[in-house]
Amino acid sequence: MSKKELKDVAIDVNWKDITPGGAIPYAGNAHLYKTGDWRSMKPVWIEEKCKQCLLCYPVCPDTSILVNEEGKRVDFDYDHCKGCGVCVKVCPFKAIDFVEEGK
């Protein structure tokens, strides 16, 4: 199997093409693995209460708080947010609500 044929973590890769032994031959592909469906509680950003202090940003274990080019936080990356709620706790302005997933 040549390098070119090696497949990374593509979700539909079959057993013949998958990388032997689970090795990952490319860097920076963790985003392909979506962990958002593990979530039972969901943080909800309340934009009008947010002062853009960005205290939430460094505590997120999954870099699921997205920050735009102007340095302002925008909405959550729900594909990867596991709903741990650390950002909810750390927010001094109650600008993040925490609700049950699916409600």
């Binding site: 032994g21 090795a23 860097a27």
Partner: protein, 394 residues
Amino acid sequence: MSIRERMSGNEAMAVAMKQINPDVVAAFPITPSTEVPQYFSTYVADGVVDTEFVAVESEHSAMSACVGAQAAGARAMTATSANGLALMWEVLYIAAASRLPIVMACVNRTLSGPLNIHNDHSDSMGARDSGWIQLYSENNQEAYDNMLMAHRIGEHPDVVLPVMVCQDGFITSHAIENIELLEDDKVKAFVGEYKPEMYLLDKENPIAVGPLDHFTHCFEHKRQQAQAMMNAKKVILEVSEEFYKLTGRKYELFEEYNTDGADVAIVVLNSTAGTAKYVADQYKAQGKKVAVIKPRVFRPFPVDEIAVALSKYKAIAIMDKADSFNAAGGPLFTDVTSAMYAKGVLSPKVINYIYGIGGRDVKSNDIEKVVEKLFEISGTGKVDEVYNYLGVRE
């Protein structure tokens, strides 16, 4: 010209390792395999190998060091027995699943408890589903030869699996017998350089080894691993053929001895096959035929080949030097009979003997009891007891 020598099975394995000259050997001493790393460490001290010898503090660490070294791109080897192998357990599976073709000398010893240092196969039989290729050896020559072939088999691109070479503790590991060694340069040429497809120290092509592998991909990896084991059978035969051309010593998936005209057969691993052959010769001198089938390759299990080979006998005794404690026979028995059933080989009467547990000596008269039972079954077509114990005090 090969080199005529005399040495123990352990020294034969250590000499093979010296000639292979691996990058890393990580090992912890345990009877009866202790001499293998002991001999090897003298080669390291004398500077006759280039190997980094890692004197670890346990077998768990020995196998872990081998995994790390092999993943880094090195050729790694180790040796162990019994509870040493048991302590490697979780790492054995990781080595196989990570597709790291480590080679191990496994000098068979009974797995505690009760505490016992002598030979049976309960150690390697417990590791039979760990994903390692398992080669069994009747004597020092076969242990040496299997070691020389192990890397070629394990490292083959269609395989990429670790290989365990087994021989009987004390019985062959410590018995000094004649042996034919290959010259160093011939071994070097035969074994060749290790060229892994992917390895950690390849700075041009960085990889991550052993990442989390959930339900989205784990099954595909396991299926691929299963295929590697299926592919191994063909590769073992090819490598053995090449070895035959080099040495004149022929190895197949299993050895068939004295088969012509025999109605009964004994299936047995490792050194007891030697005793069984001796008994078969004694019977032959009396005009009675007893075949001996000695599996060399237990993983991958030669299902089709062994079922076909056994189809011509009327009565077969499968000898297990390890109990499965399943109330249904030993591991060799269950694998052989399931192979026969799957292939539709239903006419032979098959019985099982658990023998030699904890190093209980197995003499020619013990094997004669098995042969006499087989003649009885072959004559009457009736089996009174399928699951039997040989040599235990009743």
